[in-house]
Amino acid sequence: MATPGKPLIEVVDLEKDYPTGAGVFQALRGVSLSIATGEFVAIMGASGSGKSTFMNLLGCLDRPTRGSYHLDGIDVSRMSSDQLAALRNREIGFVFQGFNLLPKMTSLDNVALPLMYAGMGRQARRQQAQTVLERVGLGERSHHTPLQLSGGQQQRVAIARAMATRPRIIFADEPTGNLDSETSHQVMGLFSQLNRDEGITLVLVTHEADIAAYARRRIRFQDGRVVEDVPQKAVAA
């Protein structure tokens, strides 16, 4: 578990350049912040302000151009791609705007997939996947494929997949972006529960103020920089 006194996530002067036709584009221009275990953070900002770029770095899907990222006190930039894969597998869950489920697989198989990469046997991982699906209220839908589920249900399967290996952090990039308002609040309720009951650290990108209101801290991005970082009173889930 987290080392006392040290933040779970600590980034310093984080920069990300994208090569473009006309030289490089600086998507992140020096971001420094830390997030403690158990926090629920909402990241906001205009489109193109660098939120997804930042989330991908935090989620160890991408590497920064400059700056440092310590996850639980460990310098992520020194890790090999295999170590990063293991980190994504065990410590991090990722929830995408477009769900990113494998379309030909059942919910159960989708949720069991990270457990397969964790080296778990078929029976055990199917059992655990079923448990997690029940936890997100989709125990009855375990043999449906994504196409047979509504958007909200698909996103809950995706959350179940992110939770399957019991990670400490879940990153969610506009998880309600493709959902209607009612479903959005159901999904957010689930996130709040995970944060509150299981102590999972949550970092979530959103445009919408009422979604951000579920979090207890709000960070605003603008042109690749943090322009606001404030605690807020969480709404009841």
Partner: protein, 407 residues
């Protein structure tokens, strides 16, 4: 990641893209079936040649009446034979020769009861059985005394026995050969086809004297169109051949510079040529089939590359939730391997079935050997690995975030 999970994943991918998997496998199926079938035909031909050679008799010379031109055509074939019975005796007397039999070949109609049968007739001496390594099925061969006295006795081949006698015991029965009555005293063991495709068991063998007096025209008394001779060992074949040449030139008083009036053929050498021809033929067939196997492999690589491109997003998702590069590499490699091995299994079935059909319907000799099956499986495995590796490596080399962005 657990090994069995790799197969589950591969299986899932193949089943969800059934049509594509099938089309990809088709190349392997056809390739393997072709290899199995071609090898079966080639090896069948080789086996037939081998057994024909074995049935011919070993270390065998055939000495023919008449000269050979430089072009190889025999001249004076229609004239009276130049070889005599005593030539055969003299050849038998050579140190390198075990046995020598004069042979007077022809054809005749056999009659027994209400049945008749056209077959080849050989007039010869008891040495013939030695030279041809031809054991008896029942009864015995005729003796030198039978030859001297021109006895009307006959030894029949297995086919003649079957056609004329059926289940009846032929020994002691009288058959008519071109009207002349002969007593059957022996039945030869079956030998099967000769190198030129004739059925060696469709024959009747009689003393050469009786053949010439009772069956063929008597103008060639004491003369034979052929002499068959067996050398003591394959190492002495060359010495025996020059011994025969020298002996016959002396006996026939052929001077220096004059053409021989006989031709000596080393049948064993001819047979070896035939054997190596079929060997080359079967290698060629195998090679052509192997090319189609490689084409099948390239087909797999092709589809796997397309599949990696199409499934880039899937690869990105898998990486995002913890697949290591080697997990992705293995996933695609095992997929290619599974494809090629299933293709191989179906191809084996088709190839063996096809060989069976060719053997039973077309009547060609076929032989599916364990070695050719093992080879097909081994080659399919290698093809799966070889042609699966490049697509698998390009999948594993994808950047997670780039892959996730793909459509």
């Amino acid at each position: 990641m657990i090994f069995t999970s790799l197969f589950e994943t591969a299986w899932h991918a193949l089943v969800t893209h059934r049509m594509r998997s099938f089309l990809t496998m088709l190349g392997m199926v056809i390739g393997v079936a072709a290899v199995i079938l071609m090898l079966a035909i080639g090896q069948g031909a080789q086996a037939m040649v081998r057994s024909s050679i074995e049935s011919m008799g070993s270390n065998l010379f055939i000495i023919m009446s008449g000269a050979t031109t430089s072009g190889g055509a025999r001249v004076a074939g229609g004239m009276a034979p130049t070889l005599t019975f005593s030539d055969a005796d003299a050849i038998r007397g050579l140190g390198d020769i075990v046995a020598a039999a004069p042979v007077s070949p022809g054809t005749a109609q056999l009659i027994y009861g209400g049945l008749n049968w056209n077959t080849s007739v050989y007039g010869t001496t008891p040495d013939y059985a030695v030279v041809r390594d031809w054991p008896m099925e029942s009864g015995g061969f005729f003796s030198e005394a039978d030859v001297r006295s021109g006895a009307r006795v006959a030894v029949i081949g297995a086919v003649v026995g079957r056609e004329l006698f059926g289940d009846e015991d032929p020994i002691g029965k009288i058959i008519r050969i071109r009207q002349a009555p002969f007593e059957v005293i022996g039945v030869l063991a079956a030998k099967g086809q000769s190198l030129d495709g004739r059925d060696q068991d469709d024959t009747v063998i009689v003393p050469i004297t009786s053949a010439q007096q009772k069956i063929f025209s008597s103008s060639m008394r004491n003369r034979a169109r052929l002499i068959m001779a067996q050398a003591v060992s394959d190492k002495r074949m060359d010495a025996a051949e020059s011994g025969i040449n020298e002996l016959l030139r002396n006996r026939h008083r052929i001077g220096v510079g004059q053409d021989d009036d006989f031709t000596v053929r080393n049948l064993t050498a001819l047979a070896e040529t035939a054997a190596s021809t079929t060997r080359i033929m079967s290698l060629l067939l195998g090679a052509i089939a192997a090319i189609s196997l490689v084409v099948g492999g390239i087909g797999i690589m092709n589809i796997m590359l397309v599949s990696v491109t199409e499934r880039t997003r899937e690869i990105g998702i898998r990486m995002a939730i913890g697949a290591r590069r080697r997990d992705v590499l293995w996933q695609f490699l095992i997929e290619a391997l599974t494809l090629s091995l299933i293709g191989c299994a179906i191809g084996l079935g088709l190839g063996i079935g096809g060989a069976w059909l060719v053997g039973n319907l077309a009547g060609l000799p076929v032989a599916v050997t364990p070695a050719s099956v093992l080879m097909a499986v081994g080659v399919s495995f290698l093809i799966g690995v070889f042609f699966g590796f490049y697509p698998a490596r390009s999948a594993a080399g994808l950047d997670p975030i780039e892959a996730l962005r793909a459509q």
